[in-house]
């Protein structure tokens, strides 16, 4: 038996009085791809931050390459060959690709920067990922997915022995994810180990050798991926048997009644570039799913419906009346709500309280001559906190202190408070732990049953197929197929996303 590359044993860490980690362990062998999973707050990030030198452990022992290892800073961990790739891209948007890749380890010649050598090195690095782009353009001019690949290349460029990937695929589409997996397999064959954190179970099976499951700051299970099936993975992570109806893996139930009249109708919508001909209908009381690969125009379509970006062609109606929003306020007035895919950037106001975040859209209606009716506001906020089961210390707590799932519930409440006709949800469960995901999916179904029309964009096939009563598939900016409840299936959606033909 060889010594493992990394062995963290009995690691404990407290923040103030609350334990974040209690005797947690993690062992990674050389050349192994190791999945680290757990709900939000299970202690994954704390464990990783101890490993990368952001935090110091209270007790326990870390051995790395056979020696005791206590990095004093992230820089020390990086020097020891531990690289971390975060969910958010850590690049300087205004600098060129080469500058970003070589940032902090510029090559010098006669005391000056050797641009040529750096250009060559950076190009070679990206070639390993099958990416050939203009290295002199600023990073900010590339798509998020490309930026993510550049960030990964940059991290691995530091002659890494151990690469930590924290939800690296959340901004990648399927093809790019596949490229990433090839890179991971390549790293593995070079003897580099990878710790892979992801909420997408399928990916873990596709690329990981072993898995460590954490719950409440403890390591609850370590095993080979081949020996743990999906249901066991989820139930271990949640610490309970997950009761589910047969075959279902999401929290959506079946609809309570048939869909009603058409609320939103979109015909031939276009923005002139990424969206060409998109047509769809959303009916009262139904969840309409909008599926498609990254870049197929899903989010762009939603943004036009909500008046954020202008449409260049096409017709939209809401309950039969023409809908031509020039700004979000117009769409809100027409009875629309929109939960964006990026909670942090476009959703929450981090420094404001749960109550103020929740009331952001409703507040004008709650005010008389510019003064907010506090009593009425308190009443509404308390109602939603209770109804949606939002976990917070009170309405005055800052929203940034809440978990992703609870933040999402606050944002849902922001729109529900407006009693909208149609709610657009863009990736409603992205970056949310499994338990809260289930709850939010159930909530969406409940809302539809109460008569709300929901347009849901999701990259997770399960969510679209099980959740949506009617699925519209986009490909390259065109609507390619509309599947009814009877027609929707994984194979039908996949086929349409991959090779569907444009129609009407």
């Amino acid at each position: 038996m060889t010594t493992p590359l990394l062995s963290m044993q009995n690691i404990s860490k407290h923040f103030g009085g609350t334990p974040a980690l209690t005797e947690a362990s993690l062992t990674v062998d050389a050349g192994e791809v190791h999945a680290l999973i757990g709900q939000n707050g299970a202690g994954k990030s704390t464990l990783i931050k101890i490993l990368t030198g952001y935090y110091t452990k209270d007790s326990g022992r870390t051995r790395y390459q056979g020696d005791d290892f206590t990095p004093a800073s992230p820089k020390a961990a990086q020097a020891a060959g531990i690289s971390t790739i975060y969910q958010e891209v850590n690049l300087v948007p205004m600098l060129s690709v080469t500058e970003n890749i070589c940032l902090g380890r510029e090559q010098r010649r006669f005391g000056l920067l050797d641009w040529h050598a750096m250009q060559v090195e950076a190009t070679q690095l990206l070639a390993r990922f099958g990416i050939a782009i203009d290295m002199t353009r600023p990073v900010g001019s590339y798509s998020t997915a490309t930026q993510q690949m550049i960030a990964i290349a940059r991290a691995i460029g530091f002659s890494a022995r151990l690469v930590i990937m924290d939800e690296p695929t959340s901004s990648l589409d399927e093809r790019e994810t596949e490229v990433l997996f090839q890179v991971i397999r390549g790293l593995k064959s070079d003897g580099v180990s990878v710790i892979f954190v992801s909420h997408r179970l399928d990916e873990l099976y596709a690329v990981c050798d072993r898995v460590t499951i954490m719950r409440d700051g403890r390591t609850v299970k370590t095993g080979s991926m081949a020996e743990v099936d999906k249901l066991e993975l989820v139930s271990t992570m949640l610490g309970r048997d997950v009761a589910r109806s047969a075959g279902r893996t999401t929290g959506f139930g079946a609809p309570a009644h048939a869909a009603g009249a058409v609320v939103l109708s979109v015909q031939g919508l276009s923005n002139g570039h990424s969206v060409k001909t998109v047509s769809l209908d959303v009916r009262q009381g139904e969840i309409a799913g909008l599926a498609g690969l990254l870049g197929s125009g899903r989010t762009e379509t939603a943004r036009m419906i909500f008046g954020i970006d202008p449409a260049t062609a096409g017709k939209m109606t809401i309950a039969g009346a023409a809908h031509r929003p020039r700004q979000p306020a117009d769409a809100i007035a027409a009875g629309l709500g929109f939960c964006t895919e990026d909670r942090k950037v476009e959703g929450i106001v981090p420094d404001m309280s749960v109550a103020d975040n929740m009331m952001l859209a409703l507040m004008p209606a709650l005010s008389r001559s510019g003064i907010v009716d506090e009593a009425r506001q308190r009443e509404i906020v308390a109602g939603f906190i209770q109804k949606l089961g939002i976990k917070c210390t009170g309405p005055g707590q800052k929203i940034r202190e809440l978990s992703g799932g609870n933040q999402q519930k606050v944002l849902l409440a922001r729109w529900l408070a407006m009693s909208p006709r149609l709610l657009i949800l863009d990736e409603p469960t992205r970056g949310i732990d499994v338990g809260a995901k289930d709850e939010i999916q159930r909530l969406i179904r409940e809302l539809a049953d109460q008569g709300l029309a929901v347009l849901m964009i999701s990259s997770e096939l399960e969510e679209v197929i099980e959740g949506a009563d009617s699925v519209f598939v986009l490909r390259d900016g065109h609507s390619v197929v509309h599947l009814t409840a009877e027609q929707r299936s994984e194979s039908a959606v996949l086929a349409a996303m991959a090779e569907g033909d444009a129609h009407g």
Partner: protein
């Protein structure tokens, strides 16, 4: 424990510093505990606080307003021309003074709104957009007055700088009224909440149907209005208006008060009360040094040191979160 100390320092650090300064003065400065000392300090700080209240709101939206000093000069140039009858002769002095104040303040409010318009409509960086009036504003004031010093003796007007109500200087009352009004606006009004939302996350605010453009224009207009009022108070105290000097360097004093008061310079959070404490602290430091025979030039260095200390405390407070 360390986190609690940091949190305490961030929240009450300036207040504690002010308390310590007062204690120190009680010990070393002769005749400190007198009503006169209080009056001197409050009258000197009043105009800074009035401008800094507007600056607090502007900074809460993530912006900055460099034009306040120049707007003070414009208000200071316009008002005497009206009440001294240089434009049209007005018989009744009260009507003339009221009209003078109105003209001056309306002008600076419109110019402030113009700043906001540049920033909101054309997405010009606030520091650049307000730099336009920072430079041009003082020039305009000089052109209006032909570069002449305007000297006057109009008690009806100078009441706002020299008068007292129940023994309290009028400009101190004005200062307290504006502070109270701003605190109330931020806490209770729709405008205040929307302003903080725009500063905290502009995209989220816009997607929630808030007219970010209108909020920004309003906030710079308020800043312009307050600068106009401060300009009137300054010339009233001086019995003269010199377009070269009125409000000179005021933008930096106001920004310093906001920073020392514990406001986030990146926006999204605002404490007008903190700004008041910040301005008082800076003022008292200066007073302490002058009263103890330290020259004004040295006092500037100490002022800079305080600003650095305040910003450092803020950073530590944020890192601890």
């Amino acid at each position: 424990m360390a986190e609690q100390v940091n949190d305490f320092l961030r929240r009450y650090g300036t207040l504690a510093a002010l308390g310590l300064l007062i204690l120190l003065n009680l010990l070393i400065t002769p005749n400190f505990a007198t009503l006169q000392t209080l009056n001197v300090n409050l009258t000197q700080v009043a105009t800074i606080v009035i401008v800094a209240v507007g600056m607090t709101l502007v900074i809460a939206t993530g912006g900055i307003d460099l034009s306040v000093g120049s707007l003070m000069a414009i208000a200071g140039a316009l008002a005497p021309m009206v009440f001294m009858g240089k434009i049209v002769a007005i018989g009744n002095i009260y009507v003339a003074v009221a009209l003078a104040m109105l003209v001056a303040v309306v002008a600076t409010t419109i110019l402030g709104a113009f700043n906001g318009f540049l920033i909101a409509r054309y997405r010009i960086q606030p520091i650049v957009a307000t730099l336009v009036l920072f430079i041009a504003g003082r020039g305009v004031a000089q052109v209006i007055t032909n570069g002449n010093l305007q000297v006057f003796k109009v008690p009806e007007f100078q009441f706002i700088g020299l008068g007292r109500v129940l023994g309290i200087p009028v400009q101190v009352i004005l200062m307290l009224v504006f502070v109270a009004l701003a605190v109330w606006i931020l806490r209770r009004s729709l405008f205040g909440r929307q302003l903080l939302a725009v500063g905290g996350n502009e995209k989220a605010a816009r997607l929630s149907g808030i007219s970010t453009r209108r909020i920004k224009i309003a906030v710079y207009a308020i800043s312009g209005f307050l600068a106009g009022v401060a300009g009137l108070v300054v010339i009233a105290i001086n019995s003269a208006s010199d377009a070269n000097l009125v409000g000179l360097g005021m933008e930096l004093d106001a920004i310093a008060a906001v920073a020392v008061g514990g406001n986030l310079l990146s926006g999204g959070r605002a404490t007008v009360f903190g700004t008041l404490i910040g301005a008082l602290t800076i003022q008292l430091v200066r007073y302490t040094l002058l009263a103890n025979g330290v020259p004004d030039a040295a006092a500037l260095v100490v002022k800079a040191a305080i600003i650095i200390l305040a910003v450092w405390l803020q950073q530590r407070g944020r890192a601890a979160q």
